[in-house]
Each structure stands twice: as C-alpha cells, then as structure tokens.
Symmetry: C2
Subunit: 324 residues, 2 copies
C-alpha cells in the first residue's frame, strides 16, 4: 500500500464529547466524527461505541493504511498509558492504551490534551520551526504543554506542565480542591467571570455586566462588552493580563521559550487578552529575557485542533522510529 494512504487515528476524549478522525502525515483530516462520551458509564461501554464509530468512518476510506493511534485525554499519562484520577470522568484509573490495543494491534500513545496541543503546534501549527516553546490551553481551566530541545517535557512521573496549578497568591481565591490562589482560578473562562464579579464589587463604574448573574455570564459576553468599551470588562482583561504576565515571567525564567502559544475559547478576545499579558510580562521579566518571547495564537484554531493534536502525538512517535 502506498505511503499516500498512510493515516493515523487521532482521538480526543473530552468530558462531554469525544472526537476522532483519520489524519495523514501533512495534517489533512478528510473525515472526523464526534460521539457523546457518557462519562458516567463504564469505560468499556465507551470503548465499544468508539470502536463501532471508528469502523463506520473507516468504511469511507477503504484504501486507508492505519499506522497508529494517538489519544489526548484529561489526566492521561504518557509513560503508563493510563488515565489517572480524571476529574470529569467517572472511570477512575483506566489503562486506556492496553484496552484500545485489544481492538487495534498498532502503536498507541496517549497524553493529556495540552501536551497533544503542543505536539500539534510543532507538527502542524505555528511552532513548526521551534524546539523550545509552550502551549497554554484556556477553557474551563488552564492547561499547558512544554517542549524543550524539541521534546515534550513529561517529567519524572508524566505529569509535568500543570501551570493551571501554580500559585498566584497563597491567600488567594479558593479553588476546587481546597488549594488557594491557583492560576486557573484567575486565568480561564471561569477565572475571567470571577474577576468580573470581583471588579463589580471593587469598582463603582457603570457596566452592562451588572445586569447578569454569575451563571448567566460567559466569556463571549465579557469579550463583547470589552469591545464596546465597557470599563469593568476592560479592567477584567487588564487584571487577567497582569496576573498571567507576572506568572509567565517566572515560566520564562524556567525554560526560556521562543514562544508562548495560546489555545482555546478565550483567545477569541485576541489583543484584548494578549496586549495586557505582553505588557505585564515584559515589565516583570528579568532583563536578559525582554523582547524575545513571542506571544502567539494557536495555528490549529478553526481546524479540528484536538484531533490534530492527538494525531500529531502518534506521528511524532512514528517519525522518531521508536518502538511503542
């Protein structure tokens, strides 16, 4: 079979939906699909439905030569092949790679979604010429994936790159797990909402955001209000940029990246988000690092980014020629 028909299967397991698609070496994905995860049911049920859907999709590509499978999932460990204590899935510790391998005797690798996004940027996105960078994924929480010397940093235990849990202020905002002041309590879709409510309390300014309950408010509404010049919305992006700029100055002093790449819903705010981050980052950076680090928006946005990231993970392994 010709190399032109070489594809991998990229799977992104999410708390609500799981997406997958066949992706070639250039990042083309002619077909992708989505199924509900039903995370309250056992993993074995999910896997049966997933395999059925994959085979349905595969039937559309009869000449396909499937080379391997890459999986992005919350709390997935590259070293063990397992999902470990996922917050939004009822599965508990699950040996995902071993269970998938019973259906597909192929090279299979798994990692978390932020690491998959980082490899996706390196293979198919804005980091194609880079060896040292990080990706920050913004959504309900804040995730990150680091690349140094052209390799993802998994760390000793496979859980490197949890920037959402670095500490802004040890006496700061309470977070889900009882820890105070974690970055994702400030910088994430939820963090932005918390900052709006903090500033509605602190500042006297009129704001259209005074008409919404916490549960009504979402990130798009904050962005739109900021575009209309709403002072609380603008102050929210300034506050967020100061905190993220301060903490990213520390991050740069760790790994000195060429670029920091932002991915996810809040990046739709564009310069509203990036300009204050950049300004405060430069202010807090140790001088040797100033005016070097690029802040970029993901090159995968608008494409099937999560599936591309998962597929890049396995293409990366196949390209390294490693046995899996």
């Amino acid at each position: 079979m010709s190399q032109a028909n070489d594809y991998v299967l990229g799977i992104d397991i999410g708390g609500t939906f799981s997406k997958f698609g066949f992706v070639d070496r250039q990042g083309h994905c002619p077909h992708e699909m989505s199924i509900p995860t039903h995370a309250d049911e056992p993993f074995s049920h999910f896997l049966v439905r997933l395999v059925q859907a994959v085979e349905d999709l595969r039937a559309k590509m009869p000449a396909l030569n499937l080379r391997g499978i890459g999986i992005g999932a919350p709390n997935a460990n590259y070293y063990t092949g397992r999902i470990e204590k996922p917050a939004n899935l009822s599965w508990g510790d699950t040996d995902v790679v071993a269970l998938v391998k019973k259906h597909y005797d192929l090279p299979i690798v798994i990692t978390n979604d932020a690491n998959a996004a980082a490899i996706g940027e390196m293979k198919f996105g804005v980091a194609q010429q880079m060896k040292d960078f990080l990706v920050i994924t913004l959504g309900t929480g804040l995730g990150s994936g680091f690349v140094a010397n052209g390799e993802v940093i998994y760390g000793a235990d496979g859980f490197a790159g949890e920037l959402g849990h670095i500490i802004v202020d040890p006496n700061g905002r309470m977070h889900g797990n009882g820890r105070r002041g974690a970055l994702e309590a400030y910088v994430s879709a939820t963090g932005l909402k918390r900052t709006v409510f903090h500033l509605l309390a602190e500042l006297p300014d009129d704001s259209e955001l005074r008409d919404y309950s916490f549960n009504q408010l979402d990130g798009a509404m904050i962005t739109e209000a900021a575009h209309r010049g709403d002072p609380i919305a603008l102050a929210t992006f300034e506050y967020t940029g100061r905190i993220l700029g301060l903490k990213l100055a520390d991050t740069v002093a760790h790994t000195s990246p060429e670029a920091i790449i932002f991915f996810g819903g809040p990046t739709k705010a564009g310069d509203l988000l990036l300009e204050p981050i950049k300004r405060h980052l430069e202010e807090y950076l140790f001088p040797i690092y100033r005016n070097k680090v690029k802040l970029l928006i993901s090159g995968l946005e608008g494409r099937n980014a999560a599936v591309l990231g998962a597929s890049a993970l396995i293409w990366n392994e196949l390209d390294k020629g490693e046995r899996i």
Copy 2:
C-alpha cells in the same frame, strides 16, 4: 594512546578565582589548580595566564590524552560559546570558546556554573540514574540548572533556568537590577542575612544575632545560632523555607522533577534548611505531585565540584558523539 589516559580539562571561571583540573571519564581529578581571575583586567591577559598554568599542570601528566575542554562561567551561553554581560567580570561580551580554541584545537563547550553543576550531578553525583531533575546553587545569589528527558534545558536563547530571578512578591525586596521581589533576594547567602535583619525588626525575641552588624554577619553564623536554638535564626530558616517551598511548588508544576538537588555554602545547614523547604513545598504542591519529589544535597560537595561540573559538560558532549 590507551583510553585509560583519556582526560578532559574542566575550567571554572569565577569572579575572584578560576579553578581547573584534568578529569577522567569516571570523575577522577588527580591534579587541580587555582589562579586569580583578576576580572578587572582584559580577558586576553587572563587567557595567557590560564594557558601557562594549564601547561604547568599538564607537565605532571606526560601520558595524558586531552580529549576536550569544558568551561563553567557566569552568564556563559552554551549556544554561542560566549560570556554575555557578566555581572562580576569586566570583560563584557567575550567569545570565550573561539579564543580558547586558538590555544587548544579540541572540542570545547561552555555553560553557566549551575548548568555545569547539573551535568556534574548527572555524570558523577546524586543524579546518575535520573533524567528529570534540577540543581539549585546557593551562594551570593541563587542559580539553577534543569535537566528534562536527560538533556539540559538551555531554552531558545541559552539562558533557561534563572530561578534566582522568579518573583516572590512584585512589591517585595529591591534587588540589584531595580526589580523587586526576586527569589534570590530571599533565598541565598545574602537573602538569609536580609531575612535575619527583617526578623530582628519584626520580632521582639532576644537573639545573639542582635550583636552583629549586617556586614559582620555571615551564613555560617546564622546556622550556628540556629543549632544553639536562637529564635531569630530558627525563624530565618522557617521564613526561607516557606518562600522557597512556595516557589518550588510552582517549579514542580512546570517540569515535575524526580529530585531537587541543592548545592553551595548554605546547604551546610542541612536539615535546618531542607526540613522547612520540604514541609512548605508539600503544603503548596498540587496534590498529584505530593510525596514524590526528593530534596537532596549535592553529591559533588567536598570534591572539586565546579571543576567536575565543567568536565562533565564536555564528557557529556563527547559521549553523545556530537561534533563540536
């Protein structure tokens, strides 16, 4: 010539003294020497004196087969081979590797002292089985060297790993370069003294440290006072451990190291220093990282550590079989 006579030259350039020695593949260093750096004179003068001293030492080892040269120096850049804007040397930007190569046409590499210490621990010290760890060097300032996937993280510009300049508090202690709140203003030999004086102001306790001026006080005196149960000295180590534990919790969330290895004078305080760091680190860590990270004292202390680190740097390159 037999491999038994294979040696490299390890050179550690310091602000006051520069040390060097011939080191074999097992880390044995039969002869080492030290010359004054005279950092106020031009680099060319230093180099003439250095080469003369090296040749004097080499005369004692007539069968020596010199394989390469490793150099550790402040603000040294692995990528460019240069020392760039060193704080304690008057040399300005200096292409050290190119200038040394005029005397020795051999593989030559340079990096900063903390990165050299990290490679030294990996080759000859307590990190010989590790692929993910960091070294923290404590002295007048605080330096760090990171290893991930078995490779030093140099970053995009060669200046990764400046943990001394991460920010504890953006409104905190003023530091040399006009930035506020940098870690090394708290955690270093100088930082310990500053904390003693802060606590002498804040606390009413009797203390033998009330008898000394700032210029009289040194780290050994603080350690000795703490061993005698002096409340200000003990509070100083507690304060230092809380700050370093807090910031190292962030570091673990970046690279998830197997161990954090401490190097330098203040480590002589042993558990006085390590116990509070460990306790606060575990408190501030995101739960998935708890009870995993080892805190260790350097395995090179008491040996000619800086020279071993510099020699490990070049042995590491020779072992990789890379052309330099």
